[in-house]
Each structure stands twice: as structure tokens, then as C-alpha cells.
């Protein structure tokens, strides 16, 4: 019997996270020849909703594009409005914004790593990583008042000031979490199950990564030095010391290792923020809204988030457009999955940390 190709439908429920997207895998036996995907199940028309709401209201709306990078959306949105209005933000607000962003980054990376070992079949380690993530969840709930949506940012600064006692508390929790992160790093580096399932799987060569314009840990896992925090410095990042982590492996494991090592960079950034936190006001009021257009981008946990706004002198934007990291990274799956086996699809998919609700808005 000759080998024939067969198109295998996968979905609509996301095979890694519980989100709806269809995959059409062209397979030859067990091996994948081509990948196509159909999305659009959760297109909510949020950009249009934003055009019907005032600039202030959209801070809350954009925070609800996605749960894991919720803070990055309100952060970048506030930045793009500030650029359009030429509104300066207080020094303390810059540090508070970075603090919230890095707390979210640790929680987001740990979530992705947990899901990865979950797919690899290492359930007990999945439970452990999620348990460590609870330390970050408790910080978010104690400091900001919610486990996911921090409501930290507003146009002109931040809504949520963090008292000195809470900064102390965050520093104390960083001392608690750091040895546990070391342990997780050790297991990710040496564990036999993780290495056999992920090392050398889902290769994305640097030239493809550049051509497809992928961002975030997906790009850095292919050895590309690309981090908006370094390339287009914003908020307090120019004053803070951190490394841009890259891994040369181009595989699922090196993307995971980028995330693991970035956890420590985030801990470093949080410590610097707490120690260097300037005193003063936390937000400035908005001035007159001009006719203008502006662009802003930041580094969210999954990669670059970009916002474009057009203001028309009214309190509602004439156009608000944003692009999430997943939007760029989906296309790379076609390269990564070529030659993979069906059983590996979920692992490769999870390695780009995809988000359907982000992508479709």
C-alpha cells in the first residue's frame, strides 16, 4: 500500500489551551506535511467597541483583550494615548508600571511552562509549577486586588499606588520564590522526560524567524536579540539593569528555557523597582485632546504588543488598532510543525504561547 496524504482536522477546541481554533494538518502517515488554521470564533470586534467608548473607558476595555497579558494592553494603550496627547507621566508611575508588568510576566511565563509540562504528560510537575505561580497570584491579589486584571494603569500614570509596606512584602516574596524558581530551572534543564519530549522539536531557524517577524520568547528562542524593552526603551526600563535572554537551540525546549531564564530577569527588575522607587505623585491629568496620530509598542510576556491611535479632538478615538504577539507567531507554526508527528502538535503549539482571544480581538 502506498503512503497517501490525509488532511486531519484538529479543533475547534484549542489543543493546548481551552480556546477555539481549527487546525488542518496535512499528514503523511504520522508526519505533518502542512498546517493551516481557521480562526474567527472569538472575534468580538473590540477595536470597533473602542471607537465607541471614551479614551478613559478604553483603559479598562483593552485590559480585557486577554487575561494573561491584560496589564500589557492597558499599559501600551495608556502609552499610545500619552504619545498622542503629549502627556508626561510622573517618575514614580514609570516604576510602578514596570513593577506591575514584571509581576505579570513571571505569572504568565510560569503558566506557559506549567502547561508545557502538562502536555508532556508530567502532571505532578505541572501541579508544582502552578503552585509556585500562586505566590505571584497572591502578590497580585494583595497589592492590586485581583488575581488577573490588575487595573494598575490609567492615562497619565497609574491607578494603584503601592505603599512602602507592600513594597517590603513584594521583596520578601521575591526571596521566597527565587529558590523555587531555581529548582524549576534545574528540573527544566536536566529532567529526562522534559528533554526527551522537547529538545530538538519544532525547529524555527533564525532566518525564518526573521522573515516571519516573530517576537517575544519565540524569536529569542531562535537566537534573535529582539526585546522592545531594550530596542525602544520606555517607562523605567532605561534606568534598570536586565539582560535580554536568548537561546540558540531554535526548538521547543530553547523557547521554554528563554522563559525560565527570563523569570530571574523579572525578579531582578522587581527588586530594582522596589528598591529605587521614587517618591511623588502617581498620575497626571489629561490635557486638551488634539487631532493627532501616535504609535506605541511594549514587550508583553508573549512578545511585542503594538498600538496605533488616531484622535480627532473628541473624547473618543477616531481609530484604535492593536496587534498582539500571537498574531505574528501563529505563522511560525507552519515552519515548526513541518516534519513533526501528530502527537507533538500540542507541544509545538504551546511553545509559541498562543492566545486566540488576543489574536482575534
Amino acid at each position: 500500500m502506498s503512503i497517501s496524504t490525509y488532511t486531519m482536522p484538529l479543533g475547534p477546541v484549542h489543543v493546548a489551551l481551552e480556546e477555539p481554533v481549527y487546525f488542518h494538518l496535512t499528514v503523511e502517515g504520522e508526519n505533518i506535511k502542512n498546517v493551516e488554521l481557521t480562526s474567527g470564533h472569538v472575534h468580538r470586534g473590540m477595536e470597533r467597541m473602542a471607537m465607541q467608548r471614551t479614551l478613559v473607558k478604553n483603559v479598562t476595555l483593552t485590559e480585557r483583550v486577554c487575561s494573561l497579558c491584560s496589564n500589557s494592553h492597558s499599559f501600551t494603550y495608556s502609552m499610545v494615548v500619552e504619545n498622542a496627547l503629549n502627556l508626561e507621566i510622573p517618575e514614580r508611575a514609570k516604576y510602578l508600571r514596570v513593577l506591575a508588568e514584571e509581576i505579570k510576566r513571571i505569572a504568565s511565563h510560569l503558566f506557559n511552562l506549567a502547561i508545557q509540562v502538562h502536555i508532556a504528560g508530567f502532571k505532578s510537575f505541572f501541579m508544582h509549577v502552578m503552585e509556585v505561580r500562586e505566590i505571584m497570584q497572591d502578590i497580585k491579589e494583595t497589592v492590586y486586588g485581583n488575581r488577573m486584571n490588575l487595573a494598575a494603569n490609567c492615562i497619565g500614570g497609574v491607578k494603584c499606588d503601592v505603599t512602602d509596606e507592600l513594597l517590603e512584602y513584594i521583596l520578601k516574596q521575591m526571596d521566597v520564590i527565587e529558590p523555587q524558581l531555581e529548582e524549576i530551572k534545574d528540573i527544566f534543564t536536566n529532567n529526562h522526560i522534559i528533554l526527551t519530549r522537547t529538545n530538538g522539536l519544532g525547529i524555527l531557524p533564525p532566518e525564518d524567524a526573521l522573515a516571519l517577524g516573530v517576537c517575544g520568547p519565540t524569536a529569542r528562542g531562535s537566537g534573535i536579540v529582539r526585546d522592545v524593552r531594550r530596542d525602544t526603551p520606555y517607562a523605567a526600563y532605561p534606568d534598570l539593569e536586565f539582560d535580554v535572554i536568548t537561546e540558540p537551540g531554535c526548538c521547543v525546549h530553547s523557547r521554554a528555557m528563554v522563559r525560565v531564564r527570563e523569570l530571574f530577569e523579572s525578579v531582578k527588575l522587581i527588586r530594582q523597582c522596589c528598591n529605587k522607587m521614587p517618591k511623588g505623585p502617581v498620575f497626571n491629568h489629561m490635557g486638551k485632546i488634539p487631532y493627532n496620530e501616535a504609535f506605541a509598542h511594549t514587550e508583553a510576556p508573549r512578545g511585542e504588543v503594538a498600538y496605533y491611535i488616531r484622535t480627532n479632538g473628541t473624547d473618543k478615538p477616531a481609530r484604535l488598532k492593536w496587534r498582539v504577539p500571537s498574531y505574528m507567531n501563529w505563522k511560525a507554526l507552519g515552519v515548526m510543525m513541518r516534519g513533526c508527528q501528530i502527537a507533538e502538535v500540542a507541544l509545538v503549539l504551546n511553545s509559541v504561547d498562543p492566545c486566540v482571544s488576543c489574536t482575534e480581538r
Binding site: H128, D138, E183
Partner: protein, 180 residues
């Protein structure tokens, strides 16, 4: 593998880390948790900035001749705390109360509602929202000689006249009640 066995054993000894809620009366609830919105009726002036910034449209202010009623429907509220941020009177707070389960039949009853009664201006008789005492104390902190209770009973335009009279060294205007 040994690395993880150590972790596994430690976690086993530690026991479960989840609270068996609702079998226990309370679970982890920090003081700053963003729960239900509470309005302080002593401070709310009914300016409406909260309903302007509320993306969910969860705040309604009904103005009448003799007062205003401010209503927050908890089922719409997304607890973003924008109202707390922009309220110039600091009249809105979010208390750490996350208990929001209710029967479907009661869905329109889960509200926070405060009615603020207006009083007539003691000079011209126009219905006004008297300025909260705490705010007056802040406004007149450098004017020890001012009778705050009297100022509180004045409408904005009568208060302006009053301030002008005081600056010019004239005695306060006769209260309407006294004239009658």
C-alpha cells in the same frame, strides 16, 4: 529525576494548599481586594464623573429637584476601580467583599444605592447639595473666623457673595429665615 522526587516528597508532606471553601467560613481575602463598590453618601456630590468613566455603564445618577440617587448595579460592575480613581470627593471605595452569588430572580436587586437629599439655600432658597463638612474644613482651613455651618447652608452664588462681603469687611447677609 531525583531533583523532582525531592520536590514531590516535600509537597506531599505539606498537604493540600487549597482551602475547602465553602466548608471553611473564609478564605484568603487581602484588604486591598477589589470587591463590591460602596458609596459614601456624606461625600457624593452627584457630579457624575464616575458614570462618565465607567466602561461597563454600571453607575446611574438620577437627579431630582430635592436630591439625587446614585445606583451601582453589581452585575455590570467589572471592578476596574476607575470610579474610585476619578471621584474628586473620594466618595467611592471598593470593599474586599467578593461574595456575589445570588438567585437569578434577584438579579436586579444586587445594587448599591444611596439617595442624597438637597436642602434649600438659607439665603435665596434654591435647592442645593450642601458641601460636605470635611470638604468645607479643608476649603476654609485658613479662615478661622468663618461660621462653617452658615457657609454650608449657602448655594454657590450666595457663598460667593458672602465671601466678597467678608473680604470687604461687611457683616454677613441676613438669613432668609431671620428676615421672615
Amino acid at each position: 529525576m531525583a531533583g523532582f522526587l525531592k520536590v514531590l516528597f516535600r509537597n506531599l508532606l505539606q498537604g493540600p494548599s487549597t482551602d475547602p471553601f465553602p466548608l471553611v467560613p473564609e478564605t484568603f481575602t487581602p484588604d486591598r481586594l477589589r470587591g463590591k463598590v460602596v458609596i459614601n453618601q456624606d461625600l457624593c456630590m452627584g457630579c457624575g464623573i464616575c458614570s462618565y468613566v465607567c466602561v461597563a455603564g454600571a453607575i446611574n445618577i438620577e437627579k431630582r429637584e430635592d436630591g439625587h440617587t446614585i445606583t451601582v448595579w453589581h452585575n455590570s460592575c467589572c471592578r476596574c476601580a476607575a470610579c474610585r480613581q476619578y471621584c474628586p470627593m473620594h466618595a467611592i471605595s471598593l470593599e474586599p467583599n467578593w461574595h456575589s452569588a445570588h438567585a437569578e430572580a434577584d438579579k436586579y436587586k444586587v445594587i448599591e444605592q444611596k439617595t442624597i437629599a438637597y436642602e434649600p439655600c438659607s439665603v435665596c432658597g434654591k435647592m442645593i447639595r450642601p458641601v460636605p463638612e470635611a470638604t468645607l474644613k479643608k476649603l476654609y482651613v485658613h479662615n478661622d473666623d468663618v461660621d462653617l455651618n452658615h457657609v454650608r447652608s449657602l448655594c454657590p452664588s450666595c457663598r460667593q457673595l458672602e465671601d466678597a462681603r467678608r473680604s470687604a469687611g461687611l457683616p454677613p447677609a441676613a438669613e432668609k429665615k431671620a428676615v421672615e
